[in-house]
C-alpha cells in the first residue's frame, strides 16, 4: 500500500489558494492548497459535485482558476495552453479518436511532437505490448470492449512519457472484475514507470487500495489529505470519518479537555472519554466517531475502567460470513453498529441487554454533524 519508496518529497504540482467559479455566484472550488509530490499516486476522492473534475481540469488546462495559481515543476501554468503542459490524461469516457485505429490513436501524441516514423513505430509497439493489445493494433476503438478501450486510453496517455498523468474516474464504466484487474494494472504501471498520477474516483475502496495519498474533497474544499491508513484511522473531521468506511456517531457536549483527552456528556446520558481532535471549548457540541470494529460487546460488567462503557440493547445480528454485524440501540444512537469477528457472536440473542465497550483512543471527538 505504501508506495513511499517511489514517492519523493519533491513537489511536482502546487495549488496555492486556488478558487474556481463557473457562474460568478458560488465557488465550486473554494480554497485549494495542495501539493502533489513527484512519483506519488494521489487520489481525489469525494462525493459527486465536490469539485474533483474541476480541479483536474484546471490542472490539465481546460479550465482557468478564478483565483490562485497552479505551479507545475515550480512554473506557474495559469496561462499555459493545455497542449504545452505535457500532462497525460485519461478521460472518463476514454475519448479515443473513433476515426483512427488503435495504433494511430497511440501514435497521435508522438506524431504531433514530430517524433520520427521509425521511433513512433517502436514506441507504439512497446506501449501496445505493455497493455497486451498488440494484436488489435489495426482495429478501430468501436470494435474494442470497454476494458480494452480503457487500456488503449492508458497507453495513449503514457506513450509520450508525460511528467504527470491525470485520470478522471477511468474505471467507472467497467464491471467489478475488470475494474479490479485494471486497478492492479494501473498500480503496476505507476510503480514500474515511476509515474506521478492524479486519480479521481468515487469509489473509496479503489482509493484506499491504490493510493499513496488521498485528498478527500467535499463542497469545494479538501477536507483531509493523508495516507489511506491515516485517513481511515485518524480522520480529522466528521465528514472524513463518515465518508471513509463505516463510523458510529455519538453526539454530546464537551465537559472538559485535558492533555488531548476530552470528557463528553452524551445527549442521552452517560459520559465518554475521547481523543480531542476537532472540538471547541467546554460547552461546545461535538460528534464522537467510533469505528464498528473497535467496539466490543460485553454481556456483564467487566469492571475495566480504562474503557468507555455504555448500556445497549441488541436489536439485530447480521451474519456476513467472515464477520457478523451487530446492530444495537444505545443512548444517542439507535443504530449503533459493531463488527464482531467470526464466531464472536455466540451466546448473543436479539433483544438482549448488553454493554458496548471501546477504548478512549478509538473514539475521536470531531466537529458536530
Amino acid at each position: 500500500m505504501d508506495g513511499g519508496m517511489i514517492a519523493t518529497t519533491e513537489t511536482l504540482v502546487r495549488f496555492t489558494g486556488v478558487q474556481k467559479s463557473y457562474d460568478g455566484e458560488h465557488l465550486v472550488v473554494k480554497s485549494l492548497d495542495l501539493d502533489i509530490r513527484k512519483g506519488e499516486f494521489l487520489t481525489l476522492l469525494g462525493p459527486s459535485g465536490s469539485g474533483k473534475t474541476t480541479t483536474l481540469m484546471m490542472l490539465a488546462g481546460f479550465e482557468v482558476p478564478t483565483q490562485g495559481e497552479i505551479f507545475l515543476a515550480d512554473r506557474p501554468i495559469k496561462n499555459m495552453p493545455p497542449h504545452k503542459r505535457d500532462i497525460g490524461m485519461v478521460f472518463q469516457n476514454y475519448a479515443l479518436f473513433p476515426h483512427l485505429t488503435i495504433e494511430e490513436n497511440v501514435a497521435f501524441p508522438l506524431s504531433v511532437r514530430g517524433v520520427s516514423k521509425a521511433e513512433i513505430k517502436e514506441r507504439v509497439a512497446a506501449a501496445l505490448d505493455m497493455i497486451k493489445l498488440g494484436n488489435l493494433a489495426n482495429r478501430r476503438p468501436g470494435q474494442l470492449s470497454g476494458g480494452q478501450q480503457q487500456r488503449v486510453a492508458l497507453a495513449r496517455a503514457l506513450v509520450f512519457n508525460p511528467a504527470l498523468v491525470l485520470m478522471d474516474e477511468p474505471l467507472g464504466a467497467l464491471d467489478k472484475r475488470l475494474r479490479e484487474h485494471m486497478q492492479l494494472e494501473i498500480k503496476r504501471l505507476h510503480e514500474t514507470m515511476g509515474l506521478t498520477v492524479v486519480y479521481v474516483t468515487h469509489d473509496q475502496g479503489e482509493a484506499l487500495t491504490m493510493s499513496d495519498r488521498i485528498a478527500v474533497f467535499n463542497d469545494g474544499i479538501v477536507q483531509q489529505i493523508d495516507r489511506p491508513d491515516a485517513l481511515y484511522e485518524r480522520p480529522v473531521n466528521s465528514f472524513v470519518a463518515n465518508f471513509i468506511g463505516e463510523s458510529n456517531v455519538l453526539s454530546g457536549v464537551v465537559e472538559n479537555i485535558e492533555q488531548g483527552w476530552v470528557r463528553v456528556a452524551l445527549d442521552t446520558g452517560g459520559t465518554v472519554t475521547a481523543l480531542a481532535v476537532n472540538i471547541g471549548g467546554p460547552g461546545s457540541r461535538t460528534s464522537l466517531s467510533v469505528r464498528p470494529e473497535r467496539v466490543a460487546i460485553e454481556t456483564g460488567d467487566s469492571g475495566d475502567t480504562t474503557m468507555n462503557r455504555l448500556p445497549a440493547t441488541l436489536t439485530d445480528l447480521i451474519y456476513l460470513g467472515d464477520h457478523t454485524l451487530a446492530v444495537l440501540h444505545t443512548p444517542g444512537n439507535p443504530e449503533f453498529m459493531v463488527k464482531l469477528p467470526a464466531g464472536a457472536y455466540a451466546g448473543l440473542v436479539p433483544g438482549q441487554d448488553v454493554y458496548i465497550a471501546f477504548r478512549p483512543d478509538d473514539c475521536r471527538a470531531l466537529d458536530p454533524v
Binding site: 497542449h83 504531433v112 496517455a157
Partner: protein, 416 residues
C-alpha cells in the same frame, strides 16, 4: 446442456443464424412496406415511365405500320422496292383520314429537318392509291424527296420499337444515314455545354455552401442549447418563405436600381451600377442562399454528436488547436460534409426557377431545357432523355459517395 441445444446441434450454425435473422428481416420489411408502396407509385413507376419514354419509338410504327413492315428486309442500300412505296402510299392516306399523320411527321422531322413538309404535302397531294406498280414513280413525282435514300433511312431508323435517338441527342450525338454514331451538327450540339454548365454551377454552389456553412454549423454545434436553438431558427428561416419569394427578393436587392447598387453609388464606391443579376453571379448568390440550410443541417447534426472530449483529449496529448482541428475534428465531420455536399449538389443541378429568374440566357441549366421540351414543344422523348442523363450522373455520384462513406464507416469510441 439443454435438450433444445442438442436437438439443434446438427443444423449448421450459419443456417440457424439465418433462420433467426429471417424473422427480424420480415418484421423490418413489414414496417417499411407502406413507404415502399408509396414510393413505388409516386417515384419508381413515374421514373420508369420517364426512362421508357426516352427510348420509346411508337409514332412511326403506329401511324405507318405497313411501311415499317415493308422496310423490314430493306438493307438500307439504294432505294426500297415498289412494295414499300405502295405501303407508304396506303399508310399515308389512311393516316391522313385518321388525322394521325402529324404525329409521325413530327417524329420524323427530328431525324431529317423538313420531313414534316415532305410527308404532309405528299399526303395532301395523294388523291388516290396509285395503280399497282406505279407507286414509286407517283410518289417521287409528287415529292422528289422520296427518291432520296435519306428519307427512307429516316423512316427505318424511326420504325421502333425502341430508339437510341433521344439518348444520343441528349449528349450531342446522332446516327448518320449508315447508322453509325457521329457528333451532332454544330447548331444542334448544345446539351454537353448545358450539362457542363449545370455541373459547374452545381459544384460552385456546393463549394460556396460548404465554405459558408461549415463555420456556422460549428458555431451552432458548440453553443449552449438555448442559444443554438435561437440561431437555428435563423438558419431555417429561408424555409418559411417560398422559393419564388426569396428569389424575387434577390432581384429587388441586386438589380441595377436595387439596394446594393444604390448603397454603393451613394457611398461613391462606384459610378455605374454593377451588373449583379441576370448573370452567373446572381445565380450563384441566389442558389447558395436557398441551399445553404441543406448544408448546415447535416453538418450540424454530425458536429453535435462529436464530443468536446475529443478536442480536449487531442490538446492533452500535445496537439495545438489547428492540428487538433485538422487531424481530429475535421475527419469526424466528413460524413456530414459528404451528406451536405451530396444533398446540395443534387438539389442544385436540378434547379430551374432560380436560374430562370436571376440568370441570363447563358446561365440556364438542364432543367430549363427539360421544361422547355415538356411544356413548349412536347418532345417527351428528348425531355426524358435529358432527365435520364441527369439521373444517371446523380446515381453515379450517390454511388461513389456511398462507397466512400462505407469505406470509412466508424462506430464511435465514446461509450456512455
Amino acid at each position: 446442456m439443454t435438450a433444445a441445444f442438442v436437438a439443434g446441434a446438427d443444423v449448421p450454425l450459419k443456417r440457424r443464424l439465418k433462420r433467426s435473422e429471417r424473422a427480424r428481416q420480415l418484421r423490418a420489411l413489414g414496417l417499411v412496406m407502406p413507404l415502399l408502396a408509396f414510393l413505388l407509385f409516386t417515384f419508381v413507376i413515374p421514373l420508369a415511365g420517364m426512362i421508357w419514354k426516352s427510348v420509346d419509338d411508337w409514332e412511326v410504327p403506329q401511324v405507318l405500320p405497313h411501311t415499317v413492315a415493308a422496310l423490314e428486309h430493306w438493307n438500307g442500300q439504294g432505294l426500297p422496292d415498289e412494295a414499300a412505296y405502295a405501303a407508304l402510299a396506303a399508310d399515308m392516306r389512311a393516316a391522313r383520314d385518321a388525322g394521325t399523320l402529324p404525329v409521325a411527321a413530327k417524329r420524323l422531322n427530328y431525324v431529317v429537318n423538313g420531313f414534316r413538309t415532305t410527308l404532309l404535302s405528299t399526303a395532301r397531294k395523294l388523291k388516290e392509291q396509285p395503280a399497282p406498280g406505279t407507286a414509286k414513280e407517283t410518289l417521287i413525282g409528287l415529292t422528289p424527296a422520296w427518291g432520296e435514300r435519306e428519307s427512307w433511312t429516316a423512316i427505318k431508323s424511326a420504325s421502333g420499337p425502341v430508339t437510341s435517338y433521344y439518348l444520343l441527342a441528349a449528349v450531342d450525338l446522332t446516327r448518320n444515314a449508315d447508322g453509325a454514331i457521329v457528333s451532332a451538327p454544330e447548331d444542334q450540339a448544345i446539351y454537353r455545354d448545358v450539362f457542363i454548365r449545370t455541373f459547374t454551377i452545381g459544384i460552385g454552389v456546393t463549394v460556396l455552401c460548404l465554405v459558408l456553412g461549415f463555420p456556422v454549423a460549428y458555431l451552432l454545434a458548440n453553443l449552449p442549447t438555448g442559444r443554438s436553438n435561437l440561431l437555428m431558427i435563423f438558419v431555417l428561416l429561408p424555409f418559411w418563405t417560398s422559393l419564388l419569394v426569396r428569389t424575387c427578393a434577390w432581384i429587388v436587392i441586386l438589380q441595377s436600381e436595387g439596394i446594393v447598387n444604390g448603397s454603393l453609388q451613394w457611398l461613391g464606391v462606384i459610378d455605374e451600377p454593377l451588373r449583379l443579376i441576370y448573370n452567373r453571379f446572381g445565380v450563384y448568390m441566389a442558389m447558395t442562399h436557398v441551399l445553404l440550410p441543406f448544408m448546415i443541417l447535416p453538418l450540424y447534426s454530425v458536429m453535435r454528436s462529436i464530443s468536446p472530449a475529443y478536442m480536449r483529449a487531442a490538446a492533452s496529448l500535445g496537439a495545438p488547436p489547428t492540428t487538433a482541428f485538422w487531424r481530429i475534428y475535421l475527419p469526424q465531420t466528413i460524413p456530414g460534409i459528404g451528406a451536405g455536399c451530396l444533398l446540395v449538389f443534387i438539389l442544385a443541378i436540378g434547379y430551374y426557377i432560380t436560374p430562370a429568374l436571376v440568370g441570363g440566357a447563358a446561365d440556364q441549366m438542364i432543367s430549363a431545357f427539360i421544361a422547355f421540351y415538356t411544356t413548349e414543344t412536347v418532345n417527351w422523348g428528348l425531355a426524358s432523355a435529358l432527365g435520364a442523363v441527369l439521373l444517371l450522373s446523380t446515381l453515379v455520384l450517390a454511388t461513389v459517395y456511398g462507397k466512400l462513406a462505407l469505406g470509412r464507416q466508424t462506430t464511435g469510441g465514446l461509450k456512455n
